[in-house]
C-alpha cells in the first residue's frame, strides 16, 4: 500500500516540480525501496510454489516437504479465520521480521524536524497576536520547504518517527496527498497552532537564534500563496542548501531534551500518585468489561479441561491477574489451591514446593534436595488419588521461575493427574522456555486473554520514575533480611504478630514468616493501609 502511494506521488512530482527538493526527496525515500524488496521476497515464495508443484519428487519425505506450502497456506488461513489469534493478515513477516536498522537519512530527517519544531513554536510565541493565523502558514511554507516536502512524502510510520510532537499532527490531519499547496499549508497551520498552544503551556524559554530571525524575514516578505512556487523556490535554493547542512550538522538536538525535572511539578510520593490514579476512569470500560465477560464464560470449560488432564496457560496483552483471581474466587472455593505470584522477587521453586509439603500435605520433615522433595510430593499424590490440588501461577515466565530447572520441576508437578495447573505468561518469548519434553509434561492448552488492564500489582515491586526513590531494589534486600533470620526469630516474629494484631489493620500483609513486623510497626499507623499494597511502598514508609 505504502509503496503504491509513493509511486503515485513520484509521478505527480515528475509533472510538477523540478528542483532540489526532489533530490532531497530521493535521499529520503530509501525506506520505500526497502519495503519493495520485502515484497519481492514474498513473491519469491510464490514462484517457489509454482516451480515445485509439478515435479513430483521421488521420495515420500520430499513429498512432505512439498506440503510445506500447504502448511503455510493453512497457517495463513487460520490466522484470518481465527477469532482470537490476531488479525495480522499480512502473516508473520511483520511480527517476526527483524528490526530494521534506522537509516542514517531517517535520523537526519528526524534531526532536522526536531531542529525546526522549537523554532516554529517560538515564532508563534513571539507573535501572539491576531496575525498568527496568517503568519504561520507562510512561515511554515517559507522557512521549511524541505520540511514540507518531507512531511508530504513520509508515510505515516516514518512520520511518527519525528518528534513525538508530530504524532498529534498526524492524528488530527487526515493525510490528503494533494498537490495543491494552499490546502496543505492551511491544514498545517492548524497543527502549528495546536503545537503552539501546547508549547505555551510549557513555557520553555528558548533563546532565539539568528537563523530564526532570518527566516522570519523571509516570511514577512510578500509571498502569494497561490503563485506556482517554482520561481520562489529557485530563489530559495540557497536557503535550502543552508538548511540541509544545518539539519545534518545539528546533531546535538537529536532527541527531545526536555526532562521531567523541567516540568514544574514536584515528584509525588506514592500515596498521592495512587490517589491520583484511582480517580482516573479507564477508557473503553464497556468494551473491556465485555471482553472480561467473554473470558469468564470460559471458566467452566477450563475446569472441565483441567480435570481431563490438560493444563491451561493464558497469554495476551494486559494483566491476567484479576481474571485468574476471579477464576479462583468463583470456581476454586471448595478446593485446595495454591496461588503463586511469579512476579514476586523472592519466589523460588523451593518455596513453592515448601508450601505444598508444609501447608498442603502437612509434612514437617526436611528434605535433602529439591529433587528429593519433588519425588516425595509425586509419590504422595500418586498414593492418594483423592487428593486434588490446583496451582495458580501468575507470570510463570518471571525472572525467578524461567530457569530450566524450575520449569522442569513445575512441569513434573503439573503432569501429575491430580495436580491442576493454570498459569499466565506475559513475556514475548515465554514459549521458548519449553522444549518438547517440557511441553509434553505441561500438556498445555493455550487461551488468549487480552485484557488491556494495567500490570499494577505485577510491577509494584519495581520503581516508578515519578516516585521519590529511596534505595535500590528495596524488596530484594527485604528478602535477604528474611533469609538470614533463624527459624527461632521467625517464630518470635509470629508471636509478635499475634500480640499486635489489633494495631495492625491488615493482617494479610504480614503472614507468619514476616519478622519485620517489629521494624515496621512503629512507622505504620499514620498511613492508610489501602495505599500500601506493595513492598516497594512499604519500604518507603519504613526507611
Amino acid at each position: 500500500m505504502m509503496s503504491k502511494l509513493e509511486s503515485k506521488e513520484d509521478k505527480m512530482l515528475e509533472v510538477q516540480f523540478v528542483g532540489d527538493d526532489d533530490v532531497l526527496n530521493h535521499i529520503l525515500d530509501r525506506e520505500g525501496g526497502a519495503k519493495i524488496k520485502k515484497e519481492r521476497a514474498q513473491l519469491l515464495v510464490n514462484t517457489k510454489k509454482i516451480i515445485k508443484k509439478p515435479e513430483y519428487d521421488l521420495e515420500e519425505d520430499d513429498q512432505e516437504v512439498l506440503k510445506d506450502q500447504n502448511y503455510v497456506e493453512v497457517l495463513g488461513r487460520h490466522v484470518q479465520e481465527s477469532l482470537k489469534n490476531g488479525s495480522a493478515t499480512d502473516g508473520g513477516n511483520k511480527v517476526y521480521s527483524f528490526q530494521n536498522r534506522k537509516h542514517p537519512e531517517k535520523m537526519a530527517k528526524l534531526a532536522s524536524e526536531l531542529a525546526k519544531t522549537p523554532r516554529k513554536s517560538v515564532s508563534s510565541n513571539l507573535k501572539s497576536d491576531p496575525e498568527i493565523t496568517i503568519d504561520i502558514p507562510q512561515c511554515s511554507k517559507g522557512h521549511s520547504a524541505s520540511d514540507k516536502v518531507q512531511l508530504k512524502n513520509n508515510d505515516k510510520s516514518e512520520f511518527l518517527s519525528t518528534a513525538p510532537r508530530g504524532l498529534r499532527k498526524r492524528l488530527i490531519v487526515p493525510r490528503f496527498h494533494s498537490d495543491s499547496e494552499s490546502e496543505y499549508s492551511a491544514s498545517n497551520s492548524e497543527d502549528d497552532e495546536g503545537v503552539a498552544q501546547e508549547c505555551e503551556e510549557n513555557t520553555n524559554e528558548v533563546i532565539l537564534s539568528e537563523q530564526i530571525q532570518a527566516q522570519n524575514r523571509v516570511v514577512s516578505a510578500p509571498v502569494c500563496k497561490e503563485t506556482p512556487s517554482k520561481k520562489m523556490r529557485r530563489d530559495k535554493t540557497s536557503d535550502l542548501v543552508e538548511e540541509y547542512f544545518e539539519a545534518h550538522s545539528s546533531s546535538k538536538v537529536l532527541t527531545s531534551d526536555r526532562t521531567l525535572q523541567k516540568l514544574k511539578r514536584a515528584k509525588l510520593d506514592q500515596q498521592t500518585l495512587h490517589n491520583l490514579l484511582s480517580k482516573v476512569s479507564p477508557s473503553f470500560s464497556a468494551e473491556l468489561k465485555q471482553l472480561n465477560q467473554q473470558y469468564e464464560q470460559l471458566f467452566h470449560k477450563w475446569m472441565l479441561q483441567l480435570h481431563l488432564g490438560f493444563n491451561i496457560v493464558l497469554y495476551g496483552l494486559g494483566s491476567k491477574r484479576d481474571l485468574l483471581e476471579r477464576f479462583r474466587t468463583t470456581m476454586l472455593q471448595d478446593c485446595i489451591h495454591v496461588v503463586i505470584n511469579g512476579f514476586f522477587p523472592g519466589i523460588s521453586v523451593k518455596s513453592i514446593l515448601n508450601s505444598i509439603t508444609e501447608e498442603v500435605l502437612n509434612h514437617m520433615g526436611t528434605f535433602r534436595s529439591v529433587l528429593d522433595q519433588l519425588d516425595w510430593i509425586i509419590n504422595k499424590f500418586k498414593e492418594e488419588s483423592s487428593l486434588e490440588l490446583f496451582l495458580l501461577i501468575h507470570n510463570l515466565d518471571s525472572q525467578m521461575l524461567r530457569g530450566d530447572k524450575s520449569q522442569q520441576i513445575i512441569g513434573q508437578l503439573s503432569s501429575l493427574r491430580n495436580i491442576y495447573l493454570i498459569a499466565s505468561i506475559d513475556h514475548l518469548n515465554a514459549p521458548l522456555m519449553w522444549d518438547h519434553a517440557k511441553q509434553s509434561l505441561y500438556n498445555w492448552l493455550w487461551y488468549e486473554t487480552t485484557t488491556y488492564s494495567h500490570y499494577t500489582e505485577e510491577t509494584s515491586y519495581e520503581n516508578s520514575l515519578l516516585v521519590k526513590q529511596s534505595g535500590s531494589l528495596p524488596l530484594s534486600s527485604l528478602t535477604h533480611v528474611l533469609r538470614s533470620l533463624t527459624p527461632n526469630a521467625r517464630t518470635s516474629g509470629e508471636a509478635d504478630q499475634e500480640t499486635r494484631n489489633d494495631n495492625v489493620p491488615s493482617k494479610t500483609f504480614f503472614q507468619k514468616d514476616t519478622p519485620l513486623i517489629h521494624v515496621m510497626h512503629l512507622s505504620w499507623e499514620p498511613f492508610d493501609l489501602q495505599i500500601v499494597s506493595s513492598g516497594c511502598s512499604c519500604m518507603h514508609y519504613t526507611t
Binding site: 500447504n70 482470537k84 489469534n85 472441565l304 505470584n341 509434553s440 500483609f509
Partner: protein, 675 residues
C-alpha cells in the same frame, strides 16, 4: 487482595474439611458451560466412552508396534548374556568378555514419545530378562560420582522392589556411601547369591537357568551425556565385567554414528554394539490414523482442515504421536462440548435408540443443521412440510439418514483403501504414498476433480499386467476381509477381472505363436519399394492390433471401473445430510489452543486495539493509531519508532493525557519490552 504480600509469593488456601468432601463431579462443568445445552450428561458419558476406547486402542497399537523391536532386543540380551554363563576357557570368549554388550537403539527425534517407549521397555525387560533394569538420564549425571550414585541407588531400589521392604532402613543409610564399581560388584555378588535361595517365591521369576541375571543399564539420551563420564564409566565397567555382568542400551535420537563420534576408538572397541531401529514415527502415525479414523469402529470423524492442522503439527513441530493423540482428544472434547447433536455420535443401534428420546429442542437443532436443510429442500413439498412440522416423521427420517451415513462410511473406507492399493505404488506417487494423504485429498475436494487423480489414472493405464494383477489381488483381499454386503458386487467384479487377466495368459501365448508365423512368412526377397510398402502395412497392422489387444481392453475396463467406484463412493462428507453430527470441523479453535501464537496476539493487541475493543473510535487504517487508543498502544508505537527513548513529557503533552497515566503506562509496558 488476599494474594499479594510483601513477604511471600505462595498462598495456600485450604477450605474446611467438610466442604472439601463435596467435590463437584466433572460432568457438572460440562453442563454449566452452556446455558441451554441438551443431553449434556449423555454427551459427556459418550465422550468418555469413546475416548477410553480410542486410548486403549492407541495403547494396543503402540504395544504392537514396539513388539518387534522389543523382541529382537530381548533376544540380543539373552544371547549376549549367555556369553557370561559359559565359563569356557576359549580365547575368543576371553576377548569377548572384555567387551560390554551394547544395544544402540535409534529412536528418532520424537523425543516426547521416548519416555513411554523406555517405560514399556523397562517393564518388558523386568518381566522377561532381569529384575535389574536401571535407566539414567543425562541431566542426573553431570559427573562420575553422580552417575554411580544414581546407578547404585536405582539398583538397590530394584532389589528392594523385588524383596521385602524390611531393608528400607538399611537402604537409607546406604545412600550416603560413596559408591565405586568395586562396591557395586560386591553388592551384586551378595544379592545374586541371596536371590538364588529366594528365587522360587518371587513373583517375577526370571528364567531359572540364569544363575546371575545381567544388569541392564539404559541411557535414555545418549547424546546429551558428557563424553568424559561415558568414557570413564565404560572403561571402568569393562574391567569389572566378569563379576558385574552389565549390558548397555543407548537411546539415540539422531544417528548411530554418534557413538563413534562421542567415544574414541579405544573406548568404543570395548563395546560390542548392535544396532536396533525403532519404527519411524510417520509409519506410526499412519497406523494410528488407520485404526482410529479410517474405520467405522469409532463414529467420530475429523474434517479435512482439522486433520490437516493435526498432521501439520505432527510433521512440522514435534513428530510426537502423543501430541497427536492429545490433539485428537481435544477435538473429541470440543465436538461433544460444542455440538448438542453429538449425542448421536455413537454406534448405530445406540444412536437409533437415542433418536427416539430426542427432545423438541434437539429436533429443532436437527432442522437447523445446514446439511439437513439442504436435504429438505431437495424433497417433495409434502415431505418438506412433514419434515419441518412432524416430530415423529423427522425422527424416522433421521434414523434412516444416520443409517445412510453409516453405510456411506463403510463404503467410503473400503473404496478408499482399494484406491490406495492402486495408487500407492505408482511412480512419483501422485496421490501420496500414505493412505492419510489420499484421505486428506479426498476430504478436501472431490477427488475426481483433482489433477493428481487424473495423472494417477493415466499412470494406471500404462501399467504392466503383473503389476495390475498384484494390485487386484491386494484389493480383493481388502474386500474379502471386510465382508460387507453392500460392496459384495464389487468384490465379485474384481474377482472377475482377476480371472480375465489370468486367462489372458493362455491367449497371449497363442497370439505370440501367430505373430511369429507371420513374421517368418514375411522373409522373402523384395525390392525397396515393396519392402517399404510391406513395412508400412505391418505398422498399420500392428497399430490396429494394438488397439485390439485384449489386455489393453481389459486394462481400460479396469481403470474405468475404479473411476466409477471413486465417483460413486468417494463423495465429499459435506454432501451427506447430518454429517455435522459426526464430523468435527472447528479447526481454528484447535489451532488456537494447541499451537497458539502469543506473539501475534500481542502484536495485534498493540497495533490494532479495535480488534479486541469493538469501539468505533478505535477503527483506524493500517499502521496508524488513533489518539484515543489505550496508552499502551501509543507507547508501543512510539517505542517502535524510536526504540531507545520515549520522552514521557513530550508524550504526555501531545496526547493530552494526564501525566500520572503515563507513569503507569511506562510501567505496564515493561514486562513485555525487556527481553
Amino acid at each position: 487482595m488476599a494474594t499479594s504480600s510483601v513477604s511471600k509469593g505462595c498462598f495456600v488456601f485450604k477450605p474446611d474439611f467438610k466442604k472439601r468432601k463435596i467435590s463437584v463431579p466433572i460432568e457438572d462443568y460440562f453442563n454449566k458451560g452452556k446455558n441451554e445445552s441438551e443431553d449434556s450428561k449423555l454427551r459427556f458419558e459418550t465422550y468418555q466412552l469413546i475416548w477410553q476406547q480410542m486410548k486403549s486402542e492407541t495403547e494396543r497399537l503402540q504395544e504392537e508396534l514396539n513388539k518387534n523391536l522389543f523382541d529382537s532386543l530381548i533376544e540380543f540380551l539373552q544371547k549376549s548374556h549367555s556369553g557370561f554363563q559359559k565359563n569356557s576357557r576359549d580365547w575368543g570368549c576371553q576377548i569377548k568378555l572384555r567387551e560390554i554388550p551394547t544395544a544402540a537403539l535409534v529412536l528418532g527425534v520424537n523425543v516426547t514419545d521416548h519416555d513411554l517407549t523406555f517405560r514399556s521397555l523397562t517393564e518388558v525387560l523386568q518381566n522377561n530378562v532381569t529384575p535389574y533394569v536401571v535407566s539414567l538420564q543425562a541431566k542426573d549425571c553431570p559427573d562420575m560420582k553422580h552417575f554411580l550414585q544414581k546407578l547404585a541407588s536405582q539398583l538397590m531400589d530394584c532389589n528392594v522392589d523385588v524383596q521385602s521392604k524390611e531393608k528400607e532402613s538399611v537402604q537409607v543409610t546406604q545412600k550416603k556411601i560413596h559408591y565405586s564399581m568395586d562396591s557395586l560388584s560386591t553388592w551384586y555378588m551378595s544379592v545374586t547369591q541371596k536371590t538364588d535361595v529366594k528365587m522360587p517365591r518371587k513373583k517375577r521369576t526370571p528364567p531359572s537357568q540364569w544363575q546371575s541375571p545381567p544388569v541392564v543399564l539404559i541411557l535414555k539420551d545418549m547424546e546429551s551425556f558428557t563424553t568424559k563420564v561415558l568414557q570413564d564409566f565404560i572403561i571402568i565397567s569393562s574391567q569389572h565385567l566378569h563379576e558385574f555382568p552389565l549390558i548397555l542400551i543407548f537411546g539415540i535420537a539422531t544417528s548411530p554414528v554418534v557413538v563413534h563420534r562421542m567415544l574414541p576408538h579405544a573406548v568404543s572397541s570395548l563395546l560390542c554394539i548392535e544396532l536396533f531401529q525403532s519404527l519411524s514415527c510417520k509409519e506410526h502415525l499412519t497406523t494410528v490414523l488407520d485404526k482410529l479414523l479410517l474405520t467405522t469402529q469409532f463414529p467420530f470423524k475429523l474434517s479435512e482442515k482439522v486433520l490437516q492442522v493435526l498432521t501439520n503439527i505432527f510433521l512440522y513441530h514435534d513428530f510426537s504421536i502423543q501430541n497427536f493423540i492429545k490433539g485428537l482428544q481435544l477435538s473429541l472434547l470440543e465436538h461433544f462440548y460444542s455440538q448438542p447433536l453429538s449425542v448421536l455420535c455413537c454406534n448405530l443401534p445406540e444412536a437409533k435408540r437415542r433418536i427416539n428420546f430426542l427432545s423438541d429442542n434437539q429436533c429443532e437443532n436437527i432442522r437447523r443443521l445446514p446439511s439437513f436443510r439442504r436435504y429438505v429442500e431437495k424433497q417433495a413439498s409434502e415431505k418438506q412440510v412433514a419434515l419441518l412440522t412432524n416430530e415423529r416423521f423427522l425422527k424416522e427420517e433421521t434414523q434412516s439418514l444416520l443409517e445412510n451415513l453409516h453405510v456411506y462410511h463403510t463404503n467410503y473406507f473400503l473404496v478408499l483403501r482399494c484406491l490406495h492399493q492402486f495408487t500407492s505404488s505408482l511412480p512419483k506417487y501422485p496421490l501420496g504414498r500414505q493412505i492419510r494423504e489420499l484421505y486428506c485429498t479426498c476430504l478436501e475436494k472431490n477427488i475426481r476433480d483433482s489433477e493428481e487423480y487424473a495423472s494417477a489414472l493415466q499412470l494406471l493405464r500404462m501399467l504392466a499386467k503383473d503389476e495390475l494383477m498384484a494390485m487386484l489381488q491386494k484389493c480383493f483381499k481388502v474386500f474379502k476381509s471386510s465382508s460387507e454386503k453392500q460392496l459384495g458386487n464389487t468384490a465379485k467384479r474384481i474377482e472377475e477381472f482377476l480371472a480375465q487377466f489370468q486367462s489372458l495368459d493362455a491367449e497371449a501365448k497363442e497370439e505370440e505363436e501367430d505373430t511369429s508365423e507371420s513374421q517368418s512368412k514375411g522373409l522373402q526377397k523384395t525390392d525397396l519399394y515393396h519392402l517399404q510398402k510391406s513395412l508400412l502395412e505391418m505398422k498399420e497392422l500392428r497399430r490396429a492390433s494394438k488397439r485390439q489387444t485384449k489386455f489393453e481392453v481389459l486394462r481400460e475396463q479396469l481403470v474405468s471401473f475404479i473411476d466409477s467406484l471413486a465417483r460413486e463412493y468417494l463423495l465429499l462428507p459435506e454432501t451427506q445430510p447430518l454429517h455435522e453430527v459426526l464430523y468435527f470441523s472447528a479447526a481454528h479453535t484447535l489451532r488456537q489452543h494447541l499451537n497458539a501464537a502469543p506473539r501475534i496476539a500481542l502484536h495485534t493487541a498493540l497495533n490494532n486495539p479495535y480488534y479486541y475493543l469493538k469501539n468505533e473510535a478505535l477503527r483506524s487504517e493500517e499502521g496508524c493509531i488513533p489518539n484515543v487508543a489505550p496508552d499502551i498502544c501509543i507507547a508501543y508505537k512510539l517505542h517502535l519508532e524510536c526504540s531507545r527513548l520515549i520522552n514521557l513529557v513530550d508524550w504526555s503533552e501531545l496526547s493530552n493525557i494526564p501525566l500520572y497515566i503515563c507513569a503507569t503506562s511506562s510501567l505496564s509496558i515493561h514486562p513485555m519490552m525487556d527481553t
